[in-house]
């Protein structure tokens, strides 16, 4: 692996950039691996990296039906925060946040993690109660989060409309200063490069058709577009497509896949210093380093793998943006796109073992998977390597849907009555 640095850039600038090498090879599959990870998004590539780096397991293949990083990794709005309500969630996301802070240096790849602060707006008394609960809970969990008055919120984010006459007046905000954004593609590329350097095979354009189980029920490997590949352990990290892959191993999942849309504006000079989320109004936004306003929309109402998404939802999202930030009506939407998110009944992820020996799963991140990337990858690798969960992902089991021990972040933010 050619080490990246300012000096290396300078040296190559002088020699016409002749010194750069392939960041990862496009591998052909071997007949057998210790571990196969299905899905070469940042979660899957990250898990491969941590398997190699922390557990010494390098006979690993990451297999994807398309190009690495082409799924939800490259389609999200890159928000990173950890100010979740429940202890389980706060620990998982804060673990991820700890890893985010050193990720560029660890991977020797600038993932541009930018601690610019994530501010969540409260628009009614119920929001205020809910966010205050978050702030208090986070504080005692050691998670950064604080309460702002509307005026403080406006100072932190000048385009914000805090008029009392607004349809949804701002009644306050919860701010996590340590939160922010990162460059999504770079996360996948950085993990891919670091994993490949440690011996991991990255196999692109190779659809996994089924997970194959042996007579004892344990995992034997995967059938792919390039033939059967044997593996002692298989981890599924396939975002929106988890149900389909797991079904092939005869495991039915508490998941539904929904289209999720996001969009960017034309680039403008810096005008929006942080990330703002407004659940009541259904808008969240940040400004990329390129200058585009990056805006997340909601999921369409129906289950779909089409990655299309409808116009009315985008209209609603932009109306919401214009409600909270009225100065942006004349900004123009440059491009919108869709992803597929798999959603669990309690809106929390499933990371861990499955009823099938040797089969592991990482799914159900819904609309919040990007921020969890290093945490999910790290704990998944631990679970696969040791065949037992890390304490941080231990609560995120499949069994919780039977016992009722849900981690219900959605219900905890129940709508106002």
């Amino acid at each position: 692996m050619t080490r990246f640095s300012g000096m290396a850039v300078l040296k190559n600038a002088l020699n016409g950039h002749k010194g750069w090498r392939e960041q990862w090879p496009d591998s052909e599959p071997k007949k057998e691996y210790d571990v196969i990870i299905v899905g070469a998004g940042a979660h899957g590539l990250g898990a491969a990296y941590y398997l190699a780096q922390e557990h010494g397991i390098t006979d690993v293949a990451v297999i994807d039906k398309g190009w690495l990083g082409g799924g939800n990794t490259g389609r999200n709005t890159t928000i990173i925060r950890s100010n979740y309500l429940y202890d389980e969630s706060a620990r998982m996301y804060d673990h991820a946040l700890d890893l985010w802070e050193g990720l560029s240096q660890e991977l020797n790849y600038n993932v541009m993690f930018s601690r610019r602060g994530v501010m969540m707006l409260a628009h009614n008394v119920h929001d205020v109660q809910s966010f205050q609960r978050h702030v208090h809970s986070n504080r005692l969990n050691g998670v950064d989060n604080r309460w702002l008055t509307p005026e403080e919120a406006k100072r932190f984010c000048p385009p914000l409309n805090i008029s009392r006459d607004a349809r949804y007046p701002v009644m306050g905000a919860a701010l996590q200063m340590r939160a922010g954004t990162a460059r999504h593609d770079a996360v996948a590329w950085g993990y891919a490069r670091a994993a490949a350097a440690r011996g991991v095979d990255i196999i692109q354009n190779c659809p996994v058709l089924a997970v194959r189980r042996g007579p004892d029920g344990a995992v034997e490997g995967v059938d792919t577009g390039k033939g059967f590949i044997r593996a002692k352990k298989v981890a599924i990290s396939a975002a929106g497509h988890t149900s389909v892959v797991m079904q092939s191993a005869d495991v039915r999942m508490p998941l539904e896949s929904y289209p999720l849309q996001a969009l960017v504006s034309e680039p403008v000079k810096p005008c929006f210093p942080c990330v703002v989320m407004s659940n009541a109004v259904h808008a969240y936004m940040s400004q990329s380093d390129k200058g585009e306003l990056v805006i997340g929309s909601g999921t369409d109402q129906y289950v779909s793998y089409s990655q299309r998404g409808g116009l009315p939802l985008i209209e609603h999202t932009l109306a919401a943006i214009c409600e909270v930030f009225p100065i942006f009506t004349r900004m123009r939407m440059l491009r919108k796109w869709g992803g597929i998110v798999d959603v669990t009944p309690d809106r929390s992820a499933i990371v861990g073992k499955t009823p099938v020996k040797g089969l592991y799963v990482n799914c159900g991140w819904g609309t919040g998977g990007f921020k969890a990337t290093p945490g999910a990858a790290h704990t998944l690798a631990h679970t696969v390597a040791r065949d037992e969960p890390h304490p941080i992902n231990a609560p995120f089991t499949l069994e919780r849907f039977t016992t009722g021990r849900l981690i219900d972040e959605a219900a905890a933010a129940a709508v106002a009555h």
Partner: protein
Amino acid sequence: MLLIHCPYCDETLPEAEFAYAGEAHVDRPADPMALSDDEWAAFLFIRSNPKGVHAERWRHVHGCARFFNAERDTVTDAFVSTYRAGEPRPGTKCSAGAPAGDDMKVAAE
């Protein structure tokens, strides 16, 4: 914005009049108390989520207000059929929407 045929109104109308209501043919057990925790969890939470034709429920909420069923291809979002609540799924052997073999030829990202 989808176009949806309401089997009660017998009209094809914009999605804005309809509300999606989840997977179809997940019937509430007659005697829930007789079920094991696993069986009850399966009723509550397990969904087929197929990549292909999905049997699902819609409600014509800004119209006749009826719940009805539909088959829709989740890859193209195209409707295959819509039918009234209580009617069997057209042209299928099973009531629950387990994905057909062909649907499996699609894998992870």
